[in-house]
């Protein structure tokens, strides 16, 4: 009997290719799509762009179509309740508290590589495969599972995967870790998959139109606790009041658009404070930070950090990891001292530590 593998199929190009590839390699593949969020639930934030987004009916249709093409059993599993509790509500809370969260990491930690393993168990699948661009290797000496960046660094998704545990990694396959995106599309074409020409989505899946503040307002209204608009002062970096803003959750560090004030040189949000309802703006120079601290560190490929270590630190998904000296602090925190100051260090985002292609671990920027 060939080994059974549960493939998490989003209806997109990457996971479709994974399912087809594994099937061709002779595995007993079961395709599953996770229904995480009802895209029609908050009509205010609905958008034509919701097609091609995770969990839209079109994507489920595509996943089912591909499963039919490659001849595998296919199921849609419902995690809407868990997704709302573990991902959406923390996302909303973070924004209200002035942070800029990454829901994808929470979804990976608590849904895709947690709840999904239970359904894989039920299906009798020893391994789970996804379309993420990342690699898992095993350390020959220690036996430890190691998370490594994808060969295609432009698609690497390890920034969102640093929270995976040893147990999770031991059951996970990333068959696209050594494939370039262009090759993935070529594979899809050669397999004749219906999604071979399908585009990519970049927005957070449950906010199809990309307007987080509007989503948060709509969600809180639906929950029966609409937010009073809390306008506040827009301050310059030296404390002068430049104007009024509509509420801190409309702003994120580094943001340039929608500030509502004019200035001879470009202005950026450099801080938001939900307590005093202030948003502080300044020049690009004001955004630079020499260091960061991060909390709730999770170590992936190493046991932990005992002494200051050199590492490359990535502070958002599209950030080129920057060299820093990383020192462990009390209470599972770290401080990273950058060799060069970094722009827009944003509370709520992850700081992920790399040693070359090896993901050491990560935590949440304070």
């Amino acid at each position: 009997m060939p080994e059974r593998i549960a493939v998490a199929m989003s209806g997109g190009l990457d996971s479709s290719v994974v399912a087809a590839k594994l099937k061709r390699e002779g595995y007993d593949v079961v395709g599953m799509t996770m229904q995480l969020w009802n895209q029609r639930r908050l009509p205010e934030v609905a958008s034509d762009q919701a097609t091609g987004r995770c969990c839209s009916l079109d994507d489920v249709y595509d996943a089912r179509h591909v499963a039919g093409q490659i001849g595998i059993p296919f199921y849609v599993v419902n995690y809407e309740k868990q997704f709302e509790e573990r991902v959406v509500q923390p996302f909303v809370q973070d924004y209200l508290e002035g942070r800029t969260p990454i829901p994808c990491t929470l979804c990976n930690n608590f849904i895709k590589f947690d709840q999904f393993f239970d359904i894989a168990d039920a299906a009798g699948a020893a391994m789970v495969a996804t379309g993420h661009y990342a690699r898992v290797t095993q350390n020959a000496e220690t036996g430890r599972q190691e998370l490594r960046t994808a060969f295609d660094l432009t698609k690497d998704q390890t920034y969102f995967l640093f929270g995976l545990t040893q147990q999770q990694l031991a059951r996970t396959m990333f068959p696209l870790g050594e494939t370039r995106k262009s090759e993935t599309r070529e594979l899809a074409r050669s397999y004749g998959l219906a999604v071979a020409e399908k585009g990519e989505s970049y927005e957070i899946c449950f906010v199809p139109n990309g307007d987080y503040a509007q989503f948060i307002d709509a969600y809180l209204r639906e929950q029966g606790s609409p937010r009073e608009p809390r306008p506040g002062p827009l301050l310059s970096s030296d404390g002068r009041k430049l104007g009024e803003h509509r509420g801190v959750h409309h702003f994120t560090v580094g943001q340039r658009k929608g500030l509502g004030v004019s200035s001879p040189e470009p202005l950026y949000v450099i801080a938001t404070d939900p307590q005093s309802h202030t948003v502080t703006v300044g020049s690009n120079q004001d955004l630079l930070r020499p260091s960061l601290t991060a909390r709730d560190m999770h170590w992936v490929s190493i046991d932990g950090l005992q002494a200051p270590t050199r590492a490359q630190v990535k502070i958002r998904n599209r950030h080129m990891p920057a060299w820093a000296t990383v020192e462990p602090l009390e209470g599972n925190h770290i401080r990273a001292l950058f060799d060069q100051p970094q722009r827009a260090v944003t509370p709520g985002q992850a700081a992920v530590l790399y040693d070359g292609d090896l993901v050491l671990g990560g935590g949440w920027i304070e």
Partner: protein, 380 residues
Amino acid sequence: MLESVPFYFDHNATTPVDPQALETFTETARDVYGNASSIHHFGQAAKQHLETARRGVAGRLGASPREIVFTSGGTESNNLAILGSVRASNTTRKHVITTQIEHPAVLNACQELHRQGVEITFLRVGAACVVDPDDLKRELRPHTVLISVMHANNETGAIQPIPQLAAIAREHGITFHSDGVQAAGRVDSHVSRLGVDLYSISAHKMNGLKGAGALFVREKTHVHPVLFGGHQERDRRPGTENIPAIAAFGVAAELPLPDTSALRDRLEKGILASVPNARVNAAVSPRLPNTTNICFPGASGEAILIALDLAGFAVSSGAACSSGSIEPSHVLLAMGQSHNQAQSSLRFSLGAGNTIDQVDALIHAVSKVAHAHHREKIYA
């Protein structure tokens, strides 16, 4: 895909087509292509088949053939009954009473009426999944124009006290509709004994084909059409009749459905004996002889369903939402179960083709899957 043919335990979703009905379907589709409204020979032949089928369906319900309106299926029958009878009533204020455990075809037709200004009461049910006639009496209003209560629940199989409920309606001169899609053929569906004015049935739940259904409309009960067109079905349902499917429906309606109560009981006992703490939903109520709905506390019904499907057994859980994933059953929630309890339940529904060997294999598979999940902590 799967190598072997799986065993089918989902007859409340739909039934396999009876061979005789299938033969009638293919022969009629090939030979009787006339339009039943046409005057000529071909039209007359089609009309003959239509009326033969009407007599067959009427016979099943103890109705007169003229009281049978053919439709496209259960959903349309329910819509015609509810929208049609409320529109036919001539009061200005209108009130409809239905229940929380109805099929979406009834619930959403009522929601549509609500949007149009009709008052709707959704009767509650207890853990037994049965409507209390006293509750119905309490909710009557002077302008109640329609009461709609399903004959047997599709998920638990619980049979509703239709004769008592219909008697209350009659006493007050209120039209009474029952959705008999699950019950027809499985339990006594004689419309006079039930006392209903309107009764919906569907061909594919009784070994006919998808695409045909019927609404029993008692003489002198008024129903406005919901579709507009030609004069077919005595001006109650326009559209060229689907003769092949209707002819097959007539054949299927005349065939007795197999009595699966012994198999159902064997399945129920077998599962309860082999899975500790499993329990039967609505066990205290009179139920359809082919249905059992079993809760596996702490387990994911979805996970068990998938495991059983991969092992070659087709069962169901809750209701599929538009994406095809499972939402907790609104019926179990209406019975007072929690979200988690409702998601831990599976429905097994039997029918033609199920055998003792299949049932025993299913018991074995359920027991194996449930125990495997216990070990692998699907039980939270």
